[in-house]
Amino acid sequence: MNTLDLKSGKVTDVREAENIVVRFSGDSGDGMQLTGTQFTDTSAFLGQDISTFPEFPAEIRAPIGTVAGVSGFQVNFGSKEIFTPGDMYDVLVAMNSAALKTDIHKLKKGGILIVNLAGFDKKNLKLAHYPEGINPLEDGSTDDFIVYKIDVTRHVKDALATSGLGNKEMERSKNMFVLGLLFWMFDKSMDYTIGFISDKFKKVPDIMNANITALKSGWNFGDNTEVFKTRFKVDVAKLSPGVYRQITGNHATAIGLICAAEKAGIQLFLGSYPITPASDILHELSKYRGNGVKTFQAEDEIAAICSAIGASYAGALGVTTTSGPGLSLKGEAMGLAVITEIPLVIVDVQRGGPSTGLPTKTEQSDLLQAIYGRHGEAPMPVIAAATPADCFEAVYEAARIAIEHMTPVIFLSDGYVANGSEPWRFPNAANLTPINCTFITESNNPDGKFLPYKRDDRGVRPRTKPGTPGLEHRIGGLEKQDETGNVSYDSVNHEKMTHLRANKVDRVADFIPLAKVDTGKEKAKICILGWGSTYGAIKTATLELIAEGHDVAHVHLRWVNPFPRNLGELLKGFDKVLIPEMNMGQLCSLIRAKYLIPAESYSKVQGLPFAVDELKSKIVETLNSK
């Protein structure tokens, strides 16, 4: 619609929207992640709901200008509740030809394409492997979009002509010019970003000023040139009242662990070996020396988990963080934690596999490895996070169960929730669920000798730690005699211990919430059963289909081992069960095996999350099939 922009007096097309998806795309060195983060944080501070999807190459600096080096940051922000970063973009910013080539196919028809002309010269077109003489900006292939061709590089150099900076340094500010332009387009204040730049570059005033100047000139470019006929109006979201912050999944995981250890009254020890996309948890936790957090960058994945086992044995909350390949390496040590019945949290931020696979892309393909991937009968509880903020609660729950039930627990996250971010109405520390961590100091045996494997009514053995007088005892990886914990090769005892360990894990189900319908109603025609990071896409698809008149329900699992006690009964109430997963149908196999229901798998293994539209089509197709 055409309205009068009161501020500038210019007639512009102001599009009102419930939500807008913007994709910043450029070379790895173009600062797209920073640009996207600033845009996101500003939106969040203005009270809009958001969901982000950073996507970057596995190479740190792939050759400049190539498709391999394209780094993207996608944000969906809006006045309604947002659960995904969006399937298609309303606005695409392409800093060079390779970025355009990579991302143009997901720009909506009629969407806005902003390009940096300097990235479309002969050299850049060639680097992006466009055929000789073909320029996508001139061959009609972008006719479906509103295209703004801006020589960002030249404008930035003009704006910074008197800054005294060299060419290269001036060019580095071009992302800020684009950000300023976007802020103008969406009528967002630059204050947050100016504050950020001032703080980040306070020791280098030249760079600070250059970035602020570039940011403002981008805004002014939009405001003054009359090139842009379109601005957007997105209201603030009607989120639940409260105090919010912005958080990524990995950050939420880190602070969830700190909170759990402090609530339990024990040290936090992280043994970790760097691996994408889990390393940020190690980075974050290493900042908390002032809180006594002990991070130990081990020599390898095995040392990482073994040091964490040692730490738990000595009385800490031992944690190890990794991704799929690292989880495989930790397998034997996990068995040790199972048989010694020691609390331990194993964080697996899943990525595309097998082997090195797609290290910077997301996948849910470690589920069966998490549940079964060990030698011997070695069950352990497994919990999965649904969203970035949910990583906090899920890892906190993992730690609570590990400590209170004397068992290793696997917490599953993935590249999508780990790097994605959302607004979070964070809890008060006082309201966090208490974690009961008791170390016994006197023998549990009236006749004297301490019985380290004498269980309570939950099947849980007592915890003590070295340094406690009178309770000296030995534990280890050899099968132990019931109650005494002494080495035993007795066959009947081994079977008994195997069952005792399995029962202990099974009984965790008595201490976790029952499964319930998240969206829709019980006994609907179709249930979409999800786990982990597919939450947002499934929820959005379900909401939209219900609005369109379909009888759909969404059930989402947090604990994937053990399953909630009522899960089978709940699922049997639906006519059909469809299980979308970013793997080949791993949860689906578990559900079919355990409940003998004809659940159907919807599999996607492209290293990418589900798009809402593809989910909706599949759900409708399944509904309509016999």
């Binding site: 908390y288 002032g290 730490a311 738990s312 000296e472 280890g476 990886g477």
Partner: protein, 344 residues
């Protein structure tokens, strides 16, 4: 001397004997090592509950079950990693690591070198029998080249490690070697190791009577011991031989065997300095096979000692320094982060 008289009776070796039946083969060198450890422990000023034994996998690693202390029998090769986590969490504990040659140098080789460089205050006893015992007789990375074992019927073509050179190269701060059949020497070495603040690596030649019997007999048997062993002591000349009539002299950086007679007096010999790393490396390099003619004697004793801060002390100090500077962040502050906004 302290005026306070402890009312608790002094512990004896028996206080460290667990109720578990010892199940090593008859004649195994492990018995002697267990016995010497139990004998020296009452002399240490450590509360019994603060001892922790951590072991890997192999015959030697069953040691943990036989000590009436806290003990953790872990998995193959990983005792060093488990011990690191224990010591980092509670530096008050007196951590002893028990391992074998395969456990330490083969499957656990990576953890071994990293433990050495980090210098946790851990006592590391490596029982070296130059064979895999528990898997019934395959050669180990310390077995001599050419050994005929279960997996090498035509002889091994593997060059063995020199474990002391490996430890020194990995920046170990205490390196020593002892023998299962010399109880007094073991006790002395264990005491020295315990005095050291840092990772104390002790290699113990240990006879496996079943799979590699008498491999160390030149160093342990009466008739050859004094000719083949060089017992080193800080500040003392390097003398050996049946009649203490031989010695080692340094010709530049080359050790040379000399007879102590009118041309070479005892004053001309190499004087052991356990603080000298270059010379410790020379000593560790005395690794000749006894079949060589001529060959150098094999040194036993403390090769090298260095004072270096331990990992856990540096970690504790860093935590104290950061806490002093920044203070402890409250959970609510951690939860809220730096930037928040309110939705009414």
């Amino acid at each position: 001397m302290s005026d306070i008289i402890s009312l608790a009776p002094k512990k004896t070796a028996k206080d460290f004997v667990s109720d578990q039946e010892v199940k090593w083969c008859p004649g195994c060198g492990d018995y002697s090592i267990l016995s010497q450890v139990q004998k020296v422990f009452p002399d240490f000023d450590v509360k019994k509950e603060n001892y922790v034994f951590i072991s890997g996998i192999g015959c030697s690693s069953r040691f943990t079950y036989y000590m009436d202390t806290y003990g953790f029998h872990s998995i193959h090769g990983r005792a060093a990693a488990v011990a690191s986590g224990v010591k980092a969490t509670n530096p008050e504990l007196d951590v002893w690591l028990i391992s074998g040659d395969g456990d330490s140098i083969s499957i656990g080789g990576n953890h071994f070198i990293h433990l050495m460089r980090r210098n946790f205050n851990i006592k590391y006893l490596m029982f070296n029998n130059e064979i895999y015992g528990l898997t019934k007789g395959q050669y180990s990375p310390l077995s001599q080249k050419g050994i005929v074992a279960k997996s090498t019927p035509y002889g091994s073509v593997d060059e063995p490690f020199n474990p002391l050179e490996l430890a020194l190269g990995a920046k170990s701060t205490f390196v020593a070697r002892s023998l299962d059949r010399d109880p007094k020497h073991q006790q002395m070495i264990f005491k020295r190791a315990h005095e050291h603040k840092g990772t104390a690596f002790v290699e113990i030649y240990q006879n496996c009577p079943v799979f590699n019997d008498e491999v160390f007999s030149p160093y342990t048997e009466k008739d050859s011991k004094r000719e083949e062993c060089l017992f080193i002591e800080h500040g003392m000349p390097m003398v050996f031989g049946n009649n203490n009539d031989k010695g080692l002299k340094l010709d530049g950086l080359k050790p040379v065997i000399v007879n102590i007679d009118s041309t070479n007096s005892i004053n001309d010999l190499w004087i052991h300095d356990e603080r000298d790393k270059t010379k410790a490396n020379l000593l560790a390099g005395l690794f000749d096979n006894v079949s060589l003619i001529p060959h150098n004697p094999r040194p036993f004793g403390v090769f090298y000692v260095e004072d270096r801060p331990t990992y856990e002390d540096d970690l504790t100090a860093q935590i104290a320094a950061v806490t002093a500077k920044k203070g402890k962040t409250s959970l609510d502050k951690i939860l809220s982060g730096e930037k928040t906004w309110i939705i009414a």
